[in-house]
Amino acid sequence: MSEKPQNDAVARAMVRLRAVDKHYGELHVLRDISLDIAEREVVVVVGPSGSGKSTLCRTINRLETIDSGEILLDGEPLPVEGAALARLRSEVGMVFQSFNLFAHLSILENVTLAPINVLKMSKADARREGLELLARVGIADKADRFPAQLSGGQQQRAAIARALAMHPKVMLFDEPTSALDPEMVGEVLEVMTSLAAEGMTMVVVTHEMGFARRAADRVVFMDAGQIVEESTPSDFFDNPRSERAKAFLASILAH
């Protein structure tokens, strides 16, 4: 991954968060978050449960609203609602912890629904492209099955294909392997790693430290709603600077 542009001033910021704050009632879930994610960059967000990392991920396509601050996607501020917000969301792929495949549609229909209805692609084109994507994530033979007939790992790969079908500028992964049985984590991470290698801009919230080390350009460590540390994977894992990062790493690596 050495050919990838690093997060320098030259690389264009695909996602830009400026002084973002959010409360859930009394709870201050995001505190003054500022973060730039460059085009083609892979940022892995780690941190203890409740640190706000999932919320951060979900603010980028406004599944969570923010109280103050600013979020720019490819230079444009996030629209508040309506058609403009829908259009923006169509450019941001999202992969959920619980897959959220449409339960009443076949796997192929899951992948083609948005291209047909949002991009107004013809059914034949959407189908052809959908089958290509399913082949790419290794489940072409499941095209006509329904989500519940697939294993968790297969469902998550289908969900990745569904997001890719929109040709997103950025992919958000909100704990994509946390709901999977251990033996299925690898197949999903493999797809994500190849996406990263192809230059997809990615924000990945995960507990998979192996993936962070292997595929991330940058690791962002969050705790209590704040970004505590940002560094390259090797710096973060080998020389964490903050006490909180040290404690976090000690707690997860001890086992």
């Binding site: 009443h104 949002v118 519940a148």
Partner: protein, 214 residues
């Protein structure tokens, strides 16, 4: 028995009228009921409110009162329609409130994640309702809607009171001539049972076919 053979034409005609009411009001109430549900779960406050009032009104007023109102009061107000269409319209709006209640309970079974996934893909709110929420809701409430349709079939008999010559009205008239109430009304009862059975079986079939695997 000659009571039935001598009146076969009239009876078949009457059964035809009953079935026509069931089918037209059934389809109409399904469409209207889904639209009312969409209004009820929409983010537009005035639509939600109007849909709520619509459902409450038709669930809390007896069908017979509505039929009498439509047949005798509306012409007084200058709105004159033939009897059968009037009865079908009243049945449609009345049953649509029950369909709306059933579909709404289906909406509550749709997981939030399904809606988030749809919105995250860039589908608008209306597309999300049309392509994800309503199809999943309907699949969850096939049996309850079947029960509403059976109730609708039974309720068509009330149209007899306002002068529509459907099955109940026809057998009542025949009985006035032949005075064999047990045979004629039992026969009519069997026809209603067959209609209900057909709807119930159809609902079961549809449910097995469209049920969502979870």
């Amino acid at each position: 028995m000659e009571m039935i053979t001598e009146n076969a034409g009239l009876l078949l005609d009457a059964i035809g009228t009953t079935l026509l009411m069931v089918v037209v009001a059934g389809v109409g109430s399904l469409i209207l009921g889904v639209l009312v549900t969409v209004a009820r779960v929409s983010p537009i406050p005035i639509l939600r409110r109007a849909a709520f009032l619509y459902v409450q009104f038709f669930i809390n007023v007896p069908l017979l009162a509505l039929l009498l109102l439509a047949v005798f009061a509306l012409p007084d107000a200058g709105l004159i329609l033939p009897l059968l269409p009037t009865a079908i319209i009243v049945l449609t709006v009345y049953e649509s409130a029950y369909v709306a209640e059933a579909v709404r309970s289906g909406v509550n079974t749709v997981a939030v994640g399904q809606i988030e996934a749809s919105r995250a893909l860039g589908l608008t709110l209306w597309q999300t309702l049309r392509l994800v929420v309503i199809p999943q809701s309907l699949r969850a409430v096939v049996q309850p809607i079947g029960n509403v349709m059976i109730a609708l079939a039974m309720n068509t008999a009330l149209a007899a009171v306002v002068g529509v010559v459907e099955l109940t009205s026809r057998v009542n008239k025949i009985n006035l001539v032949y005075a064999q109430p047990i045979e004629i009304f039992t026969g009519a009862g069997i026809v209603y049972m067959l209609i209900a059975l057909a709807i119930g079986l159809a609902a079961g079939r549809i449910e097995r076919k469209v049920a969502i695997l979870r």
